[in-house]
């Protein structure tokens, strides 16, 4: 499986963010998108996720499932957590599993994998920023998608959390997945760097 971007350009609010960007990532490979603030890292991820219209060039997935589009085979972990404060931690996770079509599983186990099993019945409103991030990461594990699009994934995670997540990313890559992550901090897994924007 190979994710290919050719001559991708992005225009937002009438301003060209970047243009003529080429990138690719194959199974088992992580791509770290770096660049100064405002250089278009998040925009690139949202273009790949199909949440922004590509204004030039193309992004495609080779060797994936034929009947599914790239966004349908991808997980997007953005700045916003997609968590409902009124629902409990377990309810949030179970909803996304059901909605995204994951296999039935023991929610407690998935939460334990990100160190949240003690808080399963707590309303998500009471979670800290780092715990919210961990719960979002549990969503990536609950439903299998080959492509992970991660926007500053280690933000708000403590050292142990970063280590844990690096391990999870390593597992995902070794199972043939691929990762594109916008990041300032080191990812914790072997990654090729894609630099966009001017010199920082």
């Amino acid at each position: 499986m190979r994710l290919l971007g050719r001559g991708v350009s992005c225009v937002r609010g009438g301003r060209e963010v970047f243009s003529g960007l080429d990138f690719e990532a194959s199974s088992g490979e992580a791509l770290a998108v770096t660049g100064p603030n405002g250089s278009g890292k998040t925009s690139l991820l949202r273009l790949t996720a199909g949440l922004l219209a590509v204004s030039g060039g193309s992004i495609g997935l080779e060797g994936g499932e034929v009947e599914l589009t790239l966004p349908e085979q991808a997980h997007y972990l953005g700045h916003r957590d997609a968590l409902k404060p009124a629902l409990s931690v377990a309810e949030n996770l179970i909803f996304w599993r059901d909605f995204l079509g994951g296999e039935p599983f023991d929610a407690g186990k998935s939460l334990a994998a990100v160190g949240l099993d003690h808080a399963a019945r707590l309303p998500a409103a009471y979670l800290s920023a780092g715990q919210r991030r961990r719960l979002s990461i549990a969503r990536l594990l609950a439903v299998r998608r080959p492509v992970w699009l991660l926007d500053e994934p280690t933000n708000a995670l403590d050292t142990a959390g970063q280590k844990l997540f690096a391990g999870l990313m390593g597992d995902h890559l070794s199972q043939g997945g691929l990762i594109i992550a916008a990041t300032h901090a080191p990812l914790g897994v072997q990654a090729r760097e894609l630099r966009i924007g001017g010199a920082a």
């Binding site: 966004p71 997609a82 009124a86």
Partner: protein, 222 residues
């Protein structure tokens, strides 16, 4: 199917929990209907004549009040991104959200109608007629209102805009809803004609609403 059922269940659960806002609509409906007899004075015949119109206006405004939450919360917390990306067609997800919204915010209005009828000097049969027209007509309000809600969410802070966009679309529903209720109470028209048109309006909105809302959401994402 499990995906859509999960979405409906989640939206209803959120609406019924603290801060969810399902009860806001009913309370507003109650306020409008309770205040009306005080404003009109103690003319029982007049109240009975205006009753269906007042109930319909109350229901229309109450459903408008809660509609802006339909997509706003999901947009603000990023859930909408994941719903757009998912393998479930966006049109079906929109329809499921509208259904959940109607079950949580529209159905309670209809359940409250018999009580409201008492306040407006409507007899049992008239109240049932109004409740029946509301039952058939309020889904049309939700499904056409959903188009406005989807547009408003793509133009940030479009709360008032929603009302301006949705009200013209709900005028036909209001006309035939009140006409059917009046026909059942006073005649001389037969109840069937306006009621069938009301049913037709609801059916049309079931088809157009989800497609228009989904197109607007897809186009307006940023």
């Amino acid at each position: 199917m499990t995906a859509l059922a999960a979405l409906v269940r989640r939206d209803i659960k959120i609406a019924l929990r603290v801060g969810g806002g399902a009860l806001i609509g009913v309370l507003f409906f109650l306020t409008v209907v309770v205040l009306m007899p005080f404003a009109l004075g103690p003319d029982l015949a007049l109240l009975a004549r205006l009753g269906p119109a007042i109930l319909w206006l109350g229901a229309l405004l109450a459903s408008l009040l809660t509609l802006d939450r339909l997509f706003m919360a999901d947009h603000d917390d990023g859930s909408l991104d994941l719903i757009v990306m998912s393998r479930t067609p966006l049109e079906l997800s929109c329809a499921a959200k509208a259904l959940a919204h109607w079950l949580a915010a529209g159905l309670p209005l209809i359940i409250a109608t018999p009580v409201m009828g008492l306040l407006l000097n409507l007899d049992g049969a008239s109240t049932m007629a109004v409740a029946l027209t509301l039952f058939v007509g309020t889904p049309a309000l939700t499904f056409t209102g959903m188009i406005g809600a989807a547009l408003a969410v793509t133009l940030h802070r479009g709360g008032l805009l929603l009302a301006v966009l949705v009200l013209p679309l709900s005028i036909p529903v209001l006309i035939f809803g009140v006409a059917a209720s009046q026909a059942a109470i006073t005649g001389p028209l037969s109840f069937g004609t306006p009621f069938s048109i009301l049913c037709a309006l609801s059916l049309v909105s079931f088809v157009i609403g989800p497609f228009a809302a989904a197109a607007s959401l897809r186009h307006g994402l940023d």
